[in-house]
């Protein structure tokens, strides 16, 4: 009985970790370039383009204002065509990544805004191309702040994935919902809670450590 509970929880934890990290990764794949573009097209920046900035900014805002639970349901047809099913861990990655991307884009934009303007100027004076400014200067200089933002994103995604669990995404959320809530199992319920708290603490701790390691300011 205890053994089966533990394996249930272990499986749930594994799925939650996988969903959070994988969707954080895909979220960055989409959100990082979007954030860089948001930053560069701002007024007074390297590739100032008010029109495209406003366009992208609006898209980001629209997606950020959709509640996550609605996003999952709304995206079901799209998820189904992409993955073949709308339930399970892999299917959950689609709304999680799409949901995280605009959030990440804003965080990245803010991280880049913290890089002193004088440094960008210096790179321009050296004859750096815009691409080199991004790769050699902006991203490395913003790295500690980007790591902090990745930490925030991961923790948000742990929460989102648990929410997704209620509608068939798997992970600790589903375990808690199915066995704890519907099945009235207080042990499972509390264990899920504890594991989620521990996971969040571990992510925050590691994120802080990493950010500090790369911060030479």
């Amino acid at each position: 009985m205890l053994d089966s509970n533990i394996s249930l929880l272990a499986k749930g934890l594994g799925e939650t970790v996988f969903m959070s990290f994988a969707s954080c990764f895909f979220g960055f794949v989409l959100g990082l370039p979007a954030g860089v573009v948001l930053f560069l097209t701002r007024k007074g920046q390297l590739l100032e383009q008010s029109f495209y900035h406003r366009l992208l900014s609006t898209v980001v805002n629209v997606f950020r204002s959709i509640p996550f639970i609605i996003l999952i349901v709304w995206m079901i047809p799209f998820t189904r065509t992409l993955i073949g099913t709308s339930i399970g861990v892999f299917a959950a990655l689609v709304p999680l990544s799409i949901g995280a991307a605009p959030f990440i884009a804003r965080l990245v934009e803010n991280s880049l805004l913290e890089v002193p303007q004088g440094l960008i100027e210096t790179a321009r004076a050296m004859g750096a191309s815009p691409f080199q400014v991004i790769t050699k200067l902006l991203l490395p200089e913003a790295l500690p702040s980007l790591i902090n933002n990745a930490t925030i994103t991961l923790i948000t995604l742990v929460g989102y994935s648990a929410m997704g669990g209620a509608v068939g995404a798997g992970g600790l959320g589903q375990v808690g919902y199915q066995y704890g809530y519907i099945g009235y199992d207080a042990f499972i319920m509390n264990a899920v809670l504890l594991l989620l708290v521990l996971l969040v603490f571990a992510i925050q701790f590691t994120g802080d450590k990493l950010s500090k390691k790369f911060n030479h300011r």
Binding site: A125, A128, K136, P140, E141, L143, H216
Partner: protein, 342 residues
């Protein structure tokens, strides 16, 4: 080598139009060290940023070795910029890179081979005296060391021109002098032309062969420092030489009278403007006019053979000889004012 022709720049901000540069003309010869001095907000930074087109002038030309930078597309401009080094007041080093990596950055942008990068960076760090700091991060350096790193970085692509935007303004006087010494060295050993802007007379005096004065976006005077300081030097420049008036020390002269009276001697403030050396003036007063005097205060700057500055003299000669001396000052264009009698 560098000709700045009729450069103007206007900024628009919240519907307000501000003319930061107004018809600037300046020529800089190869190998020269040229300083542009002006007070805060005069347009110095805007001007130096126009030279490498960090700021695009509204009109005018920037001709460098015959090429007009204002007409280049962004690729060609980037290529030209690689041969123009630039350093800044706040150093602008990358905090994420070590000293070595900071200096290596311009070479990395050029995809220079690793062994060559290593050779070059090591040589540059040696030049600026920071070989032992290669692995340090900028956060752990002093201001002077940071500026040395920035200088090494600016030299990485073998530029023929170095632009310095208030490079010593964030440094203390001693460090300022050592950085200026380094710049002079670089100018002489590597034959790099230097254009610097500053609001400090010390900087201009220490290393510049030619000087221009900028005020409200216009160059109001140009020439060698001695040319500019002698004769009727421009009031804007004057304010950089002698900001403080000679005050009469209260402890010494409690009873200074405004009007002459029997038994009182004049306190005279004399301005040296380069046409008479300090020593000669003193000797003339003492030996020629036979006036015993008290030198109350003196602030004299030596620029080559010319002396500039102010003296406060208490002339203790007879009334007649005192009058003769003052007449002599007036005849020789030595500015003098009687501050009182004591």
């Amino acid at each position: 080598m560098i000709q700045i022709r009729n450069i103007s720049k206007t900024f628009r901000q919240n519907n307000k139009v501000f003319r930061a540069l107004d018809g600037i003309d300046l020529e800089i010869a190869e190998g020269d060290i040229v300083g542009i001095i002006g007070s805060s907000g005069a347009g110095k930074s805007t001007l130096i940023r126009c030279v490498n087109l960090l700021e695009k002038p509204d009109s005018g030309q920037v001709l460098i070795r015959g090429k007009d930078l204002t007409t280049l597309d962004s690729k060609s401009l980037a290529r030209e910029r690689k041969k123009i080094g630039m350093i800044f007041q706040h150093f602008n080093l990358l905090s994420s890179r070590t000293v070595f990596e900071n200096v290596a950055l311009p070479l990395e942008l050029e995809h220079v081979h690793k062994t060559e990068v290593s050779r070059k960076v090591t040589a540059l760090l040696k030049l600026v005296g920071l070989e032992d700091k290669a692995a340090a991060y900028p956060a752990n350096l002093s201001g002077g060391q940071k500026q040395r790193v920035a200088i090494a970085r600016a030299l990485a692509n073998d530029p023929y021109l170095l632009l310095c935007d208030e490079a010593t303004s964030a440094l203390d006087p001693a460090t300022t002098q050592s950085i200026l010494q380094l710049l002079r060295d670089i100018n002489q050993r590597l034959k790099i032309t230097i254009l610097l802007i500053t609001h400090e007379m010390e900087v201009v005096k220490s290393i510049c062969n030619h000087v221009a004065v900028i005020d409200h976006g216009r160059l109001v005077a140009k020439g060698t420092l001695e040319q500019l300081l002698s004769g009727n030097s421009h009031p804007v420049l004057r304010q950089f030489i002698n900001t403080n008036h000679m005050s009469i020390p209260q402890e010494l002269y409690k009873g200074v009278k405004e009007k002459y009276a029997e038994g009182l001697f004049p306190l005279v403030e004399i301005e040296l403007n380069g046409n008479i050396p300090f020593e000669k003036l003193i000797d003339t007063i003492y030996y020629h006019f036979q006036i015993p005097y008290k030198l109350v205060k003196a602030e004299v700057e030596y620029l080559g053979k010319a002396n500039f500055g102010k003296l406060l003299l208490h002339l203790l000669g007879t009334d007649k000889s005192n009058e003769n001396a003052i007449q002599y000052f007036n005849q020789n264009n030595i500015k003098n004012t009687i501050k009182g009698y004591a």
